[in-house]
């Protein structure tokens, strides 16, 4: 089933970590397997990289912590080797980390080199995007990663009921558009031409971190924006290119967009005011952050809507 949510504050920052946690927790019944956040903090000239070196389900053998420590040092060494000036690397949970560094080169070689470290997976990379995802409900993940104090401009989130791939961090949304800076996607639905698109994008040189169909949406959109299209045009093209049922949210450093398939098979409720836009699979999630009766509407089939922060 899965539940998705998005929030964008217009012209200001807000308690985006706390708000997104509340929205996702109220939709816990839509997907108890894993919860993920794509949060946008204040943009800086530093790059932020969220990465993990193990999975929560990995076996804790005798060497576990030593191996993590060794691999973390290896990631730092590789960043330095590529010319990045490391500002800070801190552990966010037992196996997930947040690194900030200065770097002006291309992102793909950097992400590829980091992911070559055993067990490493780059969850997000950009100047303001930070993806946090793990097993359990929103409160569990938010507590584990201390998201309560996270302030930012916009965010999307996802509660997952796994249908197409495993219950692990690689199968959890949101997906970063590897290797494009600051683009992420959450998706509710199934894509039936996933394998075709995956092969097509792989032939163009892209690589994928998971077996999950949703990941191709992120890379598809980001590639089209790289080719010069606007977010809105790229999303409109996706309605013809992607087969299956979907409501997906995509975020960039400045925008948040939503697209629905031609049958409007998956739900979405939209609430818009002068100072915020909130969207979710169920109104109850919006009411978790807006404490009064509200007017909302459901976008129709083939609708694409984009907002800027």
């Amino acid at each position: 089933m899965c539940g998705i949510a998005g929030i964008i504050y217009r012209g200001k920052t807000g308690d985006v970590g706390r708000d997104m946690t509340r929205m996702l927790q109220s939709m816990r019944h839509r997907g108890p397997d894993s919860t993920g956040f794509a949060l946008y903090g204040e943009p800086t000239d530093l790059l932020v990289m969220r990465f993990k070196l193990a999975d929560p389900t990995d076996e804790r053998d005798f060497e576990f912590t030593e191996r993590l420590e060794r691999n973390r040092r290896e990631v730092e060494a590789r960043l330095a080797k590529l010319g990045a000036t490391i500002d800070r690397v801190q552990g966010e949970s037992e196996y997930a980390y947040r690194a900030t560094f200065r770097y002006s080169g291309e992102l793909k070689p950097l992400a590829d080199y980091v992911e070559d470290v055993p067990g490493a997976e780059v969850l997000s990379l950009g100047h303001s995007l930070e993806i946090v995802k793990d097993l359990g409900d929103a409160q569990t993940v938010a507590r584990q990663y201390h998201l309560d104090g996270f302030r930012g401009t916009h965010a999307i989130g996802h509660v997952r009921m796994a249908t197409e791939s495993d219950v692990d961090i690689a199968g959890a949304h949101p997906y970063w558009a590897y290797p494009f800076s600051d683009v992420a996607v959450v998706h509710n639905g199934q894509l039936t031409n996933y394998h075709q698109w995956r092969r097509r994008l792989e032939r163009q040189g892209h690589r994928f971190q998971s077996e999950c169909d949703s990941e191709i949406i992120a890379v598809y959109i980001a590639q089209r924006m790289e080719d010069g299209l606007s977010l809105e045009t790229a999303m409109k093209q996706s309605l013809d290119d992607l087969d299956g049922v979907f409501t997906y949210l995509v975020v960039t450093d400045t925008q948040l967009g939503v697209a629905k398939d031609e049958m409007a098979a998956k739900p979405l409720v939209l609430y818009e005011t002068d100072d915020m836009v909130a969207l979710a699979s169920e109104e109850i999630a919006i009411r978790a952050v807006v404490n009064h009766e509200i007017d909302t509407y459901d976008p129709y089939e083939r609708e694409v809507l984009v907002w800027s922060r």
Binding site: D15, D19, R22, Q25, S26, R28, H29, P32, D137, Q139, E262, M263, A264, A265, P267, V269, T273, D275, M276, E282, E283, I284, I286, R287, A288, V289, V290, N291, H292, E293, I294, D295, T296, Y297, D298, Y300, E301
Partner: protein, 268 residues
């Protein structure tokens, strides 16, 4: 804007469920409604879904109350479901999914909007929704009137087996999908695939039709149709569009073709 959570415990941690999957099996009616004669007022703010529904049952079945006002529903799912008696309910605000499902008799007025599958499988009664409704509105209803003054989502009245669905605004794709009996009156525009695979019944559309579904055809409006629409609109005080078009089943899918395509070639 105040951004404090008022969600009750239930939505934060999920309802308690027993081994058979029954939600909150040991909960009883909270008895918090304020009763004045035959009327009662229920503040739902601090109650769980199950408590609200148990309290409604207590009021109608045990206390003999005929009219209840529910405040602070906070867009929660499955409110006022399974009520099998004549009664009046006014919901002051919006509801989530499965609002007023499986009812037989109640007259419900919801001043806000509803999520997916409102009044699903209603047998009789009236449900009036002042604002928008989600998809699958009036799924499989068998009787009664369901009135949405705003817009509705996709697949309105899917598998409808009776009753009347009236929509003041627009409707999404596959409206009247597989409907088998009953009527739908849509004042605004409808999305693609109107009346797809419908067996019987009638859909009246006041606005534009994006496209017709499989085996849905346009029919002549009769004086009886006009009279029915006039009557229903008078009851609910709705603004009537000047002209309606009527859509019915083309009856081409009523019988299966017993021959396979290659067999048919041989016969011909």
């Amino acid at each position: 804007m105040t951004q404090t959570s008022t969600a009750p415990e239930e939505t934060r941690t999920g309802p308690r469920v027993d081994q058979r999957g029954l939600a909150e099996p040991d909960v009883t009616a909270p008895k918090t409604a304020v009763i004045t004669g035959e009327r009662a007022e229920l503040d739902a703010a601090e109650l769980t879904t199950r408590q609200i529904n148990l309290e409604l049952r207590r009021l109608f079945y045990e206390e003999g109350i005929s009219e209840v006002l529910v405040r602070n529903p906070a867009a929660r799912h499955s409110i006022a479901v399974g009520l099998l008696t004549r009664c009046r309910i006014r919901i002051d605000g919006s509801l989530g999914y499965f609002a007023c499902g499986l009812i037989d008799g109640p007259e419900v007025h919801i001043t806000g909007r509803v999520g997916w599958s409102a009044a699903e499988n209603m047998m009789s009664g009236v449900v009036v929704i002042d604002k928008n409704a989600g998809s699958l509105t009036g799924a499989a209803i068998r009787g009664g009137d369901l009135v949405v003054r705003g817009h509705v989502g996709a697949r309105t009245g899917i598998d409808q087996k009776g009753g009347t669905i009236i929509v003041g605004g627009n409707a999404g794709s596959m409206t009247g999908f597989m409907m088998q009996r009953g009527r739908q009156i849509i004042c605004g525009d409808v999305g693609p695939g109107l009346g797809d695979s419908m067996y019987d019944g009638a859909i009246y559309v006041g606005g534009k039709v994006a496209s017709l579904g499989v085996d849905c055809v346009e029919a002549e409006m009769t004086p009886a149709d006009e009279e029915l629409i006039d009557r229903k609109f008078r009851i609910y005080g709705l603004q009537r569009p000047d002209r309606f078009r009527k859509f019915v089943c083309g009856k081409k899918l009523w019988n299966y073709d017993s021959l396979e395509p290659n067999e048919r070639k041989l016969v011909l």
